[in-house]
Each structure stands twice: as C-alpha cells, then as structure tokens.
C-alpha cells in the first residue's frame, strides 16, 4: 500500500476510534439512568428521604438524600476505575500524574467540583423529583457550554458543520425539555427543584469538560479521570457528608445501612456504567475534540429514553420522541464531517 492510502486509512481509523469511544460513552451514560432512578426507591435512601422530609421538608430532604446517593455513586465509580487502571497497568502513571499537582492534576480536582456537586448531584435531584428521562434530556444542553468555553479558553476549532450539528442537538434538547414543562405548567404543579437539578447537570458537565481538557492535554485520560473521581470522593466524604452530619442530618446512620445486597448491587451497577461512560468520554476528546466528543456523547439522552422505556415501560411523550430524533440528526451532521477538517483540531 502506498503512503497516501496508508495516511488516509490511518486518519480515518483515528477519527472513527474517537467517535466509537464517544458512542460507547452515550450507551453507558444512558444505562446509568436506570440504577440512578431505581436507587431512590431502595432503602436506606427511601427511608432517609421520608425521615428528613418530616422534620425539614421535601426540598431539603431531597437535596440531602441526593448528596448521599451522589457520594456513593462517586465511591463506586472510583472503585470501578481503580480496577480499570489495574487492568491497564497504569498505577505507576497514576502516582506520577498525581504528584504533578500544579501543572496537571489540579485541573482534574477543579473539574471534579463542577462534575460532582454540580452536575451529578443535579442529575440525581432531577431523577428523584421528576424522573430519569427528564434528568437525561435536561443535561443535553451541556455541549453548548463546553464548546463555547473550549473555543474561548484554549482556542479549539469548531467547524461550521460541527456548529450546525450542535445547534440541532440543542433544539432537540429544548423540545424534550419544553414538552414536559408545558404539561406541568398546565397542571399547575412544577417541580422546580428538579428543573434546577437539570440545569445544574447541563452547566456542570459543560464546565467540567472544558476544565478537564486543560489537564488532559498533558495526561493520560484513564489516569486523569480516576484523579477526577478521587477529587469528587474527597469533596463528598471528607467535606460535604461530615458537614451535613455536624449540622444534624443522620448521614452516617443511613450511609451504613447502604451495605445491603440489593442496594449495593444497584450502586455498583451505577458505578460501572458511569465510570466507563467517563472513560469513553475522556478518551474521545483527544481524538475528535471536546466539542465533538460531547456532541456524540449526547446520544446518551436518546439511549436513556430507550432503556427507561424497555426496563420501566414508561412511554415517552411525543415531544421526547421529536427531540430525540433531532438529537440523532444533529449527531449525524457532526459524524459525517470530512476527515480532512479533523486533521488538526487546534490552531497553532
């Protein structure tokens, strides 16, 4: 085979690999909404919600319970990623990267602030108060924030075609988001705290992606990602959970009750799906760029709706179907981008 053909083949392979990682991210991310929704009706979280609601009201109870769920989610994700790094023989690299705090690992810790207490907590709030399908689609707006930040901050190019694709995906997200809201406005009962959670998810993930890119430039994704979850565990288990316990919420008594088989199984399922959705997400960024990685990863919204329909039998509204179709269309606009445009992703 001649040089030119080999070059073309290699570039194609690289780009399709990037898109493949992003698609795997979408599937894992979509599946995550199953354990994420189920965990709310399992003890101790179900009981915890009831106990705190009696004394502090529904809204406070929801947020505090969501904190404990998110903290456990972070824990199982970190465990899943530790296993992953063990398999890849990357513990040495993990230590080396951790030591480079100022140039590198601080970005992962910073990313964990936006990813954990903003995005993931927000998602659990949306799942608990409105439902999995909503939580999934509400966050669909995050690539706007991610792409714009990446563009202004480190000059990542967004081609016209990618911009159109992102725009169509966003229109899809708005359709899904708006559909539910209009129905609820009509019924007179809008679960605002759930919508706030949805917005937190979108903003948090968009910012996280852009910040993480700063550290990922010079680190290995598997390692960077694990450090990002180490950071999130520190935030939950060393800062927020103890503070809530000191303030008087029964955090520890319910935390210890989480060690029962079914709850543990669901939490581990959440950890594995979420851990690997992140692995795939981060792996796609260096190959196809943060904006595109996030755009294709966005198909998770549709995946979540399909999985929720299959497992819970919830039939989505027509706005969800229309919005989902727009998301697929937008992703494919980005997917069919000419390989040549992708050869250099950033300005020099």
């Amino acid at each position: 085979m001649d040089l030119k053909a080999l070059k073309k083949q290699e570039s194609k392979r690289k780009i399709s690999k990037g898109y493949m990682w992003a698609l795997f991210c979408a599937v894992f991310w979509g599946i995550w909404y199953l354990p994420g929704t189920v965990v709310w009706v399992l003890n101790p979280f179900d009981e915890m919600y009831g106990v705190i609601a009696e004394t502090n009201g529904d809204a406070v109870s929801l947020v505090v319970t969501a904190v404990l769920i998110t903290a456990f989610n972070a824990l199982t994700v970190m465990l899943a990623l530790m296993v992953w790094n063990g398999v890849l023989q990357k513990f040495g690299e993990l230590g080396r990267t951790l030591k480079e705090f100022n140039p590198c690992s601080k970005w992962f810790f910073l990313a964990s602030i936006f990813g954990g207490p903003v995005a993931i907590l927000g998602s659990f709030m949306a799942m608990g108060f409105i439902g999995g399908a909503f939580a999934a689609v509400a966050a669909l707006l995050y690539p706007v924030i991610g792409s714009v930040l990446a563009y202004y901050w480190y000059g990542e190019k967004i081609t016209k075609r990618a911009a159109i694709g992102i725009l169509v995906i966003i229109l899809g997200g708005i359709t899904i988001f708006g559909g539910g809201l209009i129905t609820e406005l009509g019924a007179g009962e809008v679960p605002w705290i759930g919508y706030l959670g949805g917005l937190m998810a979108a903003a948090g993930w968009g910012i996280e992606g852009a910040i993480a890119g700063k550290g990922l430039d010079i680190a290995e994704p598997d390692v960077g990602l694990t450090l990002r979850f180490v950071g999130e565990n520190i935030i939950w288990w060393i800062l927020i959970v103890p503070i809530l316990a000191i303030v008087g919420f029964p955090m520890y008594s319910f935390a210890f009750q989480a060690f029962e088989p079914l709850t543990l199984l669901v939490l581990i399922f959440a950890g594995i799906t979420f851990g690997f959705c992140y692995v795939c997400w981060y792996k796609s960024f260096p190959l196809i760029g943060v904006g595109r990685g996030q755009g294709i990863g966005n198909l998770y919204g549709l995946c979540a709706i399909i999985f929720i329909f299959l497992f819970f039998g919830d039939v989505p509204q027509w706005t969800i179907l229309l919005g989902g179709a727009l998301c697929v269309a937008g992703s494919f606009i980005m997917f069919t981008e000419e390989a040549g445009e992708l050869e250099t992703l950033r300005g020099e």
Binding site: K14, R96, L287
Partner: protein
C-alpha cells in the same frame, strides 16, 4: 527510571525543537520507564498521537515501515513540537532546552 508523567517526558524530549520519529521516542520512553512488550509500545505511541491531535506536536513526515522497525506495514510518523506544545511544555515546568 522516569518519574514524571509519560506525556510530560514525551514533550520534554521534543522540546529540543528537533524532529523525532515516533519509534525513536517510544523506545526511549520504554527504556527510561522500564517498560516491555507490545501493549506498552502501543500505549506510548497513543500518547504521542494524543499530543499531536491536541496540537502540541506536528506530524511533519510519514513513511511506510517496510522493514518492520516498529510495526511492519504501518505508518511511521515524524513529529516536531509546535508553539502551543512549547507553551504547554513550559506550563508543565519542563526544562526548556
């Protein structure tokens, strides 16, 4: 034995502003970090690819690996550091040679 993250070291090797073939860098890193086998070889090469697609290295020349010095029938790449790579390299507190 190398004690900085792999990508830091790869950038550092390119900071001499000379062009280096990927197989030269890969074998140097493997030697420095005491790594053996195809898995690590491909993993380090992927780090170089990531640095290049991140705009820190520029792919300046390619040739087909006819003799199998790296991977027979595959492309060999020659890279040089970019201005962005130099900036990121010095952000990472690397020695600027």
């Amino acid at each position: 034995m190398g004690n900085r993250p792999l990508k830091f070291r790869i950038l550092e090797l390119y900071l001499d502003e000379k062009e280096h073939w990927n197989y030269e860098i890969v074998s140097k890193i493997m030697e420095e970090y005491g790594m053996k086998g195809d898995y690590h070889r491909d993993s380090i090469n992927f780090d170089i690819i990531e640095l290049a697609s991140g705009g820190m290295l520029k792919d300046v020349e390619q040739k087909v690996d006819e003799e199998g010095i790296y991977k027979k029938g595959f492309l060999l790449h020659k890279y040089v550091i970019t201005d962005f790579g130099k900036v990121r390299g010095s952000d990472a507190c690397l020695r600027y040679v």
